[in-house]
């Protein structure tokens, strides 16, 4: 065997060893002894190859091929470089034209005006895990439009909340596919990537004012700091992430409702509110206040009094009546957990985008709307028709069979939540017949947490500080075609088009054959 042949073997073996070392590193992700030996041996072999046949290397660097080769290499590098720079510039200034008829990728004039008046830099951060890459792409398109129209005021980035839990914690992000809008040191978490939400958040953050929400305490309500399953610490976290200042309030000891209260929340009291407190709340509401009541069924409470002062007021003034029952729902695998089967048309529920919600041990409501009353009541959610409001609690504890008793129980579908607005005073009320749904155990499940946060948003008038021009929605549908049309479509798509190509091909093949 001559030296040139040995050199060839050494070249191949050295290169193979280096590649194998690389593969070893990829698999083990660490530099260990085997890797070091492999790399060392690889380079030794290459060195041996050079020493065994030095002429070959010299030829490779000085020959005609090499001269052309290095020219080509330089030229290629130049072309790749130019293309990379051009693409990078375009990537940083993404210009685009929206060709959709409904202008899906354009902003409304209102948003454009707000962006035009932006003084401070705004940063949008999308928290998406790789599982929700589809949502991330849609959000990226939305962020792009904002960035493009903001004269450099808006920047955005994406981060993975699982890979970067510190950032997620810092902004109070509780779940995947959330977006955070930050202005200066203030930030707000949004669950839906829509123009309405993002613009609303920018508007709120650039016009900071105290946004105080008070949770009434003193009657066995949910504990805002309780981290156990029944606690409401997730509610506090979600509201604070949305830039609310959350505080507790005992009206009786304070003697009044603070002026800065955007909304009051009564979350599942276990005893009735005394008359004096109910009066204070009444007074607050008559001055344009907002109240969110989460009422547990009396079966779950210690004391039972169907006409407690607050309940009586809600019925008389607002037309929302508690029914003394416990909702049983057979669509649910746990009959005591009611499932919202139908949502009403309301800002609270339309923002939930069809996310279901469920209510462990709920009571139902009755909504009365007097014809002459100026109130605007909206039923928010109802259960399915195979549910009913059980009034005989004894049968539940005795383990009797669960059945609807005609005339005694309330028949489904049952109303579980309602929103009422008084256009005269501007006060708003939301009543939900359960408080478990937003407790820590279920807050992040489906749309449960959204329901409460949206309710507070709406009551506090923070859901839409600005109304955007609605985009033209075109509903398109395929007309049910006649048999002839279907036949025609079949003829054209399956037979005619392919057959025409086939015929032309056959003709070409045949005429060429004939010509030989």
């Amino acid at each position: 065997m001559n030296r040139s042949k040995l050199a060839s073997i050494a070249w191949v073996a050295g290169a193979a060893l280096l590649l194998a070392s690389l593969a070893w590193y990829v698999i083990n992700q660490a530099s260990d002894l085997t890797l070091q030996i492999g790399v060392a041996l690889g380079f030794l072999l290459l060195a041996a190859a050079v020493l065994l046949d030095p002429q070959r290397l010299r030829r490779a660097f000085t020959g005609r091929q090499a001269r052309y080769g290095s020219n080509a290499l330089l030229l290629t590098a130049a072309v790749v470089g130019v293309l990379a720079v051009v693409n990078f510039l375009a990537y940083n200034n993404p210009q685009s034209i929206d060709l959709t008829e409904t202008q899906d990728f354009s902003l409304t004039p209102e948003t454009l005006l707000i962006l035009d008046q932006l003084q401070e830099p705004v940063q949008l951060i999308g928290f998406y895990t790789p599982d929700s890459a589809d949502g991330r792409d849609l959000t990226r398109a939305l962020f792009d439009v904002y960035q493009r129209n903001s004269r450099g005021k808006i920047t955005y980035e994406f981060t993975d909340p699982r890979a970067n839990p510190v950032a997620a914690d810092h902004y109070g992000v509780q779940r995947d596919a959330s977006i955070v809008v930050t202005v200066g040191s203030a930030s707000e978490v949004l669950s839906y990537p829509s123009e309405e939400e993002v613009t609303g958040a920018i508007l709120r953050l650039t016009n900071p004012e105290g946004r105080k929400v008070y949770f009434i305490v003193g009657h066995g309500e949910r504990d805002l700091d309780g981290v156990d399953e029944a606690g409401y610490s997730q509610v506090r976290q979600a509201l604070e992430a949305k830039n609310y200042q959350v505080d507790t309030l005992s009206p009786l000891s304070e003697g009044s409702i603070p002026q800065d209260a955007l909304a009051l929340v009564i979350a599942g009291p276990s005893v009735d509110l005394p008359e004096a407190e109910a009066k204070l709340i009444e007074e607050y509401l008559s001055q344009g206040g907002a109240l969110v009541v989460l009422a547990e069924p009396s079966a779950a409470l210690a004391a039972q009094s169907p006409v407690e002062p607050l309940g009586g007021y809600l019925k008389q003034k607002w037309g929302v009546e508690y029914q003394d029952d416990l909702v049983l729902d057979l669509t649910s695998s746990l009959p005591l957990t009611a499932i919202a089967a139908e949502y009403g048309e309301h800002p609270i529920t339309t923002r939930m985008r069809n996310l279901r919600s469920y209510f462990p041990s709920a009571r139902s409501l009755q909504l009365q709307s007097a014809a002459e009353s100026p109130l605007q009541p909206t039923p928010l959610l109802r259960t399915a028709s195979n549910s009913w409001g059980e009034t005989d609690y004894a049968s539940l504890t005795e383990g009797g069979d669960l059945a609807f008793d005609e005339g005694v129980d309330f028949p489904g579908p049952l109303l579980l939540a309602a929103a009422v607005e008084d256009p005269e005073t501007g006060s708003r009320l939301v009543v939900i017949g359960d408080s478990d749904f937003a407790a820590n155990a279920d807050f992040l499940a489906l749309g449960n947490g959204d329901l409460l946060v949206n309710s507070i948003d709406w009551a506090a008038r923070q859901e839409a500080l600005i109304s955007l021009t609605p985009k033209p929605a075109i509903s398109r549908f395929v007309l049910p075609p006649s048999t002839q049309v279907i036949g025609g479509v079949f003829l054209i798509t399956i037979i005619l088009i392919p057959a025409a190509v086939l015929a032309a091909g056959t003709y070409v093949w045949w005429s060429r054959r004939r010509r030989g």
């Binding site: 005609r64 290629t76 091909g505």
Partner: protein, 243 residues
Amino acid sequence: MRNVWIIAARELRHYFVSPVAYALAFMVFLILGGIFFINVFFGLQSGYVSPDGRIVMGPLVTILLFITPAITMRLIADEYRMGTIELLLTAPVRDWELVTGKWLGSMLFMLAILVVTWAYPLILHRMSTPGIDQGILLAASLGIVLMVAAMLGIGVMVSAFFRSPLAAFFVTLSVLLVLWIAGGLGVGTGVASEIARQLSFVDHFYGSFYRGLLSLPDVLYYVSLTVLALFLGAQAVEARRWG
């Protein structure tokens, strides 16, 4: 530039007398027609058909992945195999003119096929009120044309590297597949992931054109890829001169 046109016209003529080209076109239309009709027919039976021109655009992109390597495989490889490359190289034609001409010929042929695929959305347009979103159809079609340009460019480039059309076919397919799945590496949030995402062949289409958005970075991506592929193809042809 005249040389480019002469070569392109010659290639285009070649396609129209080649039974293989007809077989490919037949296959495309049969599959697309089948997908279209089945979607519409069974959609009507289950009560809902989305009046959307993209009904065939999605599948078409996947079919193109397999068709374009077959269209371009013999373009330059055949010249090597038959020995006709000597004639071309000694003729007063520059390498880039040769490569661009070959590419343009295959592009014109593919455009002829793509024009026919408009039949399906237009049928759907006639069947629905108030018709399909023509803007999305236009954007998606432009995207497909740009995408095809890049795919054919890569095909011509690979064809310039090989003597055997079959080898060119499989290598082109592999290159396209690698570009196809490159986006899969870009799941993270780092710079490397971002670059991988930007290299992904399909994301530039589905992320914008397919939704009705005509965006400059995505247009540039396909144009750059085409230019780069044709440039490398010309380099490969030039390399033949040194040997």
